[in-house]
């Protein structure tokens, strides 16, 4: 239950911060970090929840945008980067990058909680 709520909260808060284009793109790292402190889980689980939250959020957003766009831009970007022109690979890369940053932030949060608890 904790795990699932962590994922959902991570995604929700990341989405909320993302609505403000004025904030840096990595603002969700802070929310993921805070969630990992608030919802205490073991390091591995915290990472997974953080990762999954952003992985899901970014992949769903990217898939929605991309399908409405008939893959026009994703195909071009997947050739520039270069990812062989595959929009699927680009969506996956997007999701993994979001997931990694969020997961690591959550891991950090989880360790911090453990550190303070031990004292």
């Amino acid at each position: 239950m904790k795990f699932l709520s962590a994922i959902i909260l991570t995604a929700l808060l990341a989405f909320a911060t993302g609505l403000y284009g004025i904030l840096p793109w990595w603002s969700f790292a802070i929310t993921s970090f805070i969630i990992a402190i608030a919802i205490h889980q073991k390091a591995g689980k915290a990472f997974l929840a953080g990762f999954a939250g952003l992985f899901l959020l970014w992949s769903i957003l990217a898939i929605l945008i991309d399908s409405a766009n008939d893959h026009i831009l994703a195909t071009k970007v997947a050739n520039i980067l270069p990812l062989g022109g595959s929009y699927w690979v680009l969506i996956l890369l997007t999701a993994i990058i979001g997931g990694l940053v969020s997961g690591l932030a959550a891991l950090t949060g989880s360790y911090l909680r453990q550190t303070t608890k031990q004292r």
């Binding site: 989405f15 284009g21 840096p24 970014w58 945008i65 071009k76 970007v77 890369l93 950090t108 550190t115």
Partner: protein, 821 residues
């Protein structure tokens, strides 16, 4: 201790974020900030426009005086209906920004020498080049002069306000794709940027001289004037000028005098060993076709006007279609993102179009400076103070670069001790260019948008100075006309073809030809007017027009031939003609070539390719192999004849133009350049040169055939490139024929950038197409949706609508409303 994993994890997180938030080097360029770029809420994904996106909009623009309705048609062409002119340009600025913001800013950055600021140190030389040409200086000067006209000032300021309203409304995640890719942000638009853009067009259409004059000087120094004058002859036998031969001209009101001593100082005796060549060169193929046929030759009895400006083919396109309707006028056509008004188009009374005049309006003067501070230069017997301008070039990721440019009585010093290449050796070359002389900028187009008749047209174009253009005209009342207009220098023979001495005013321009004496023809008996960048007149015109190499011959020949033969012309006939791939140069050159072929010396393969050439239908259609074989043989022949001789010079020399070699072959079977300079014992003939050319060309053709690229379309491989030359954002391998010397002048990267046909019937029947799309966003389906139609020679019927009709028209898809509150 749990603090260690915490620290490691914290550092790891921060490190990853920093890495994903930094532009990393990748093969000569830089990656975007990946985390930002890939973020679906902020990065490039936000630019992926839904294919069924609505373009409706209701927006408050506080600077508007009244209400503006914009009806957007299915091709995303806006039809602007404003209550006054200023509001119309305000809205045009807003729409240009909405659909083309990045391009507008990028192009003006290029013109202002600010490319390094966004792409980094690789382009410092390009920036110096444009700054040293005095682009900003000239833009500012034109702005000061043009702003004296209140209407122009108001139009350009309203336009800028419209652009800025859009920029200010833009949320960070909505900035165009390229800003995200290169990681920078839009800046405020200013009226000066419109003038910078117009300067860029002046550069693109008149600045071949900055390279040409240097190369021509090299060639004169290398060959000596007599040989030079033969090789780079100003005689064009096949010329069919814009103004028909035999037309009488006014006598010259400016009598030019050749400076005393020019024989030794200018024509022959080189004072300088050699010269540099510019790093950026406007394309030689920048040219165009335009023509108008009178009602006597059309089926409807009404004139038809056609225009296709040949420019670099880019995405986003240089052009943006628009209809502007206000109580004073209703005009449709192609506009420049970056400038208000329509540039090539029509209104409810007239139509107009332009081709480049190609006249030489840019010259070099060889200056003497006291020392490297550039503060004083020798002029008319005394030391004069130069105006030294400091140029601060911002460079992305590096400290600023400071450059100093001295301004003299002639103009800015382009080459000096600090900006040179190995062959200038400390020369000081000042540039004199009509674009530096100010002018009325946009006034001509502002007036043409509103012109009702021939007199209005003439008044409008008489305000045009640079770049000189051939303005074609047709009216509903049945007039057709063409006039070559611009500020053209009254030159003595070959003045300015080479670098001129600059120590006194002897070589200074002696005047600008009065407008009344510029070549013009109205309602000629033959029933049509046309231009295709050829020389405007025959030799009876009393001024020197410039070096023949500035003027391509053959497109004019075939256009006039076709128009003379055509009758009961319809818009469909003109479409067919504008996209025609017949190669009139090859028609002349093939027999000249065959004259020197000795088939018994050829191998079976060589005979095969020669056979393809012989059986070729002289059309450069995509499937024609003959067109490729012809090109390969002709290029090899030019190489055989010119290369060995020209390579002996350490300086870059221009190769003589195609008509020169063709003329040699038609008239003379022997020529000293055919005598291969590398084999002194063996006097060769044109027959040998042709044999060698066929041998070389056959090898090339064999390789092409193996790759499946012998067909002309495959060989030519036309592309429309993104302005940043990024392939995935470009359209490659387009199936389109044509080429140099052909009406459909599409080469690999150049060609008809806007094809327009206007039939001046009561309702105006007009067609247009350009190789791009109305949206500059690579994530929009409107980014390149005209390209395929353009490549296959198709046109779109233009919607030219009254407001009430627009509201009801089925092809109108969206409605945008702008009010001030």
């Amino acid at each position: 201790m749990r603090i260690v994993p915490f620290l490691i994890s914290a550092i790891g997180t921060a490190g990853l974020i920093v890495a994903l938030n930094t532009q990393l080097p990748a093969g000569g360029s830089k990656t975007p900030r990946l985390g930002y770029f890939l973020s679906p809420q902020q990065g490039f994904w936000q630019n992926a426009e839904a294919v069924n996106a609505s373009h409706n909009e209701t927006t408050t623009l506080t600077g508007l005086k009244g209400k503006v309705d914009v009806y957007m048609d299915e091709r995303l062409v806006p039809h602007i209906y404003a209550e006054n002119d200023v509001d119309a340009y305000y809205t045009q600025g807003y729409l240009h920004a909405k659909y083309r913001l990045w391009q507008m800013e990028f192009q003006t950055h290029v013109a202002a020498g600010r490319l390094s600021e966004i792409v980094g140190p690789d382009r410092i030389d390009t920036d110096k080049f444009f700054r040293r040409m005095g682009m900003v200086y000239a833009a500012e000067k034109t702005m000061r002069e043009a702003s004296k006209n209140k209407d122009i000032k108001a139009a350009i300021e309203a336009y800028a306000e419209g652009v800025n309203d859009y920029i200010n409304k833009l949320k960070p995640e909505q900035i165009p794709f390229e800003y995200k890719l290169l990681d920078y942000k839009p800046e405020t638009w200013t009226p000066e940027k419109t003038y910078l853009f117009l300067m860029f067009m002046s550069y693109d259409l008149t600045a071949r001289g900055v390279t040409n004059d240097l190369k021509m000087t090299n060639a004169r120094n290398y060959f000596g004037y007599e040989d030079f004058d033969q090789l780079y002859t100003n005689v064009q036998d096949s010329l069919d000028p814009i103004i028909p031969k035999g037309t009488a001209y006014l006598p010259a009101s400016i009598k030019t005098t050749i400076p005393a001593g020019a024989d030794s100082l200018y024509y022959r005796k080189a004072t300088n060993g050699g010269t540099a060549v510019a790093p950026v060169v406007p394309d030689k193929n920048n040219g165009s076709n335009n023509w108008a046929v009178s009602g006597s030759k059309t089926q409807s009895g009404r004139p038809i006007l056609a225009n296709d400006p040949h420019l670099g083919l880019n995405l986003p396109s240089l052009w943006y279609e628009v209809q502007i309707t206000t109580p004073t006028h209703s005009t449709y056509g192609a506009s420049f993102p970056g400038s208000p008004a329509v540039i090539i188009g029509f209104n409810d009374s007239i139509a107009w179009g332009v081709t480049n005049a190609g006249r030489d309006v840019i010259d070099y003067y060889d200056m003497r400076f006291k020392d490297s501070t550039l503060e004083q230069y020798w002029y008319n017997g005394v030391w004069n103070k130069a105006d030294v301008k400091e140029e601060i070039i911002k460079v992305k990721g590096r400290p600023d670069v400071i450059d100093h440019v001295a301004y003299t009585a002639f103009g800015p010093v382009m080459y000096d001790a600090s900006y040179k290449n190995e062959s200038t050796k400390g020369k000081y070359l000042a540039l004199k260019w009509t674009a530096h002389e100010g002018g009325q900028g946009l006034q001509t187009f502002y007036d043409l948008n509103r012109a009702k008749n021939f007199d209005d047209y003439l008044n409008a174009i008489h305000k045009w100075t640079c770049p000189g253009q051939n303005f074609v005209f047709a009216s509903k009342t049945g007039d057709i006309a063409i006039k070559q207009q611009g500020a053209f220098v009254a030159r003595w023979n070959r003045q300015g073809d080479f670098i001129m001495p600059g120590e006194d005013n002897q070589y200074m321009w002696q005047g600008i030809i009065p407008n009344e004496e510029n070549p013009m023809i109205k309602n000629p008996e033959r029933g049509f007017v046309s231009s295709a960048n050829q020389k405007s007149t025959d030799d009876t015109y009393p001024y020197y027009l410039g070096a023949a190499s500035d003027f391509p011959v053959y497109r004019g020949v075939i256009i006039n031939k076709k128009l003379a033969a055509m009758n009961h012309i319809t818009a469909a006939d003109i479409q067919q003609m504008q996209t025609d791939n017949y190669n009139v140069f090859a028609e002349m050159a093939r027999p000249a070539l065959m004259k020197f072929v000795n088939e018994s010396l050829l191998t079976a393969d060589e005979r095969k390719y020669l056979g393809i050439l012989k059986n070729w239908n002289l059309r450069n259609d995509i499937g024609e192999q003959g067109a490729t074989v012809f090109r390969a043989i002709w290029d090899s022949l030019e190489t055989t004849i010119w290369k060995d001789e020209f390579e002996k010079s350490t300086m870059p020399l221009p190769w003589p133009d195609e008509p020169v070699l063709l003329d040699i072959m038609l008239k003379d079977s022997m020529y000293y350049f055919a005598d291969n300079a590398n084999t002194p014992d063996n006097t060769e003939t044109l027959t040998d040169a042709v044999l060698l050319a066929i041998q070389k060309a056959s090898k090339t053709c064999m390789i092409l055939e193996k790759k499946g690229e012998l067909a002309w379309g495959k060989f030519k491989d036309t592309r429309v490139s993104h302005l940043l030359k990024i392939d995935p954002l470009s359209r490659l391998h387009l199936p389109i024929g044509g080429g140099a010397h052909i009406i459909n002048a599409t080469t690999t990267t150049h060609g008809p950038s806007w094809r327009m046909i206007v039939h001046l019937t009561d309702e105006v029947e007009a067609y247009g197409v350009y190789p791009g799309g109305q949206s500059g966003n690579p994530g929009s389906k409107f980014y390149d949706n005209f390209v395929d139609a353009w490549a296959t020679g198709k046109y779109f019927r233009i919607l030219f609508l009254k407001k009430e009709a627009a509201a009801k028209n089925k092809q109108i898809k969206w409605h945008l409303t702008f009010t001030n509150s």
